[in-house]
Symmetry: C2
Subunit: 214 residues, 2 copies
């Protein structure tokens, strides 16, 4: 059955999924880049960004898993870009250049309507203005039996978790303290929502935990 998944979502020890102050120069917020050291070390992510080398092993295994059987993505608007409020024009097309690493339909949650953007390599960005349930419905239809992956950010994942809609979530806890930013789990009682930790694999760069809904 088609699942709603979160994969390879990096967190700091103190629970932040991004640093404070996201902008053009700091797409992951200040200090947020350090969260992803484990990912940047892997063959899979390096290849995705056109770089050679990288390691195989457990970090890479999780990177590989993160892209398997994904038929559509859902992204929060802040993950799509730094623009806030109404779209000023049509120029912003995501952080990822002409050929984004999705290669499937991507549904972007926003309050401001915008025409779909067809990118190179199979990625089309659709803008959904009528909420998380509608985005999920559209993404499931587009995924045609494959899974839907919620890319983030924190606020989007929290909304889907609160509604018990996430089936499976892979977090990578990095040995970093951020101190401020967006906290993923604060105030969410995951066991009460039916979630349990089902897997833990630790490497020198991250502790990977998989959380599943019972």
């Amino acid at each position: 059955m088609s699942k709603l998944r979160v994969n390879a979502f990096s967190l700091s020890i103190d629970g932040f999924g991004a640093g404070p102050g996201q902008d053009l120069e700091n797409p992951l917020g200040i200090g947020g880049g350090a969260l992803h050291k484990w990912a940047f070390s892997t063959v899979t992510f390096r290849k995705m960004f056109g770089q050679e080398g990288g390691a195989t092993g457990p970090d890479d295994d999780f990177a590989v898993r993160s892209f398997e059987n994904v038929g559509a993505w859902i992204l929060g608007r802040n993950m799509f870009g730094p623009v806030r409020g109404p779209w000023q024009d049509e120029s912003w097309k995501g952080w990822w250049g002409d050929n984004p690493p999705y290669h499937v339909p991507v549904f972007v949650l926003t309050q401001y309507a915008r025409q779909p953007i067809v990118m190179e390599g199979g990625t089309t960005f659709y803008f959904v203005t009528d909420g998380i349930h509608s985005a999920l419905e559209k993404a499931k239809a587009a995924a045609a039996g494959k899974d839907v992956r919620v890319g983030g950010g924190v606020s989007t994942i929290r909304q889907y978790l609160s509604e018990r809609l996430i089936d499976e979530m892979h977090l990578a806890i990095s040995p970093v303290l951020l101190g401020a930013g967006e906290n993923l789990l604060q105030g969410l009682d995951l066991p009460k929502l039916g979630y349990q930790c089902s897997e833990q694999v630790a490497t020198p760069l991250a502790t990977h935990v998989v959380i599943k809904r019972a």
Copy 2:
């Protein structure tokens, strides 16, 4: 120089150092026992509680380190016992039986004065009613050049962290979700307080992180 340390303090993935509902039957709060699976697996902790067997390796290395060079302890009152409010009588002498695993002076923070309790094996419980700075001063004097270890709980550690008095803190993050309880780091900006993660060692049972003040 004598340090103020936290060691072997277990946290859930969602940041809780104890489960909710601590009482006589659940000294670690509901579900809190699962946090300490890594510790209960080690030779060192098993021996301390009179049990045979157990594993050596990185979990045990941290268990060993946690007891090295400790000249005195500081405990919050809730860590000493489930009694709340004024002491009803002198009967409660801690969770640990006649010969507690401290073997040095232990300073218990409380609002309610009580005479010291001399236990077997070198442990004496002293009750400190004039705050965390006073407890630290007394503990440092008693430790005679050795380190002082803050045993917990969460509230006590948070108070010492907020005042930048902890020199070094070893946390063991266990692959467990608690959902509620006492959150160790929520609302504390550790980098701003001068703390950084200096070491990470991961095992199947826990991710050990060491946090130090610059």
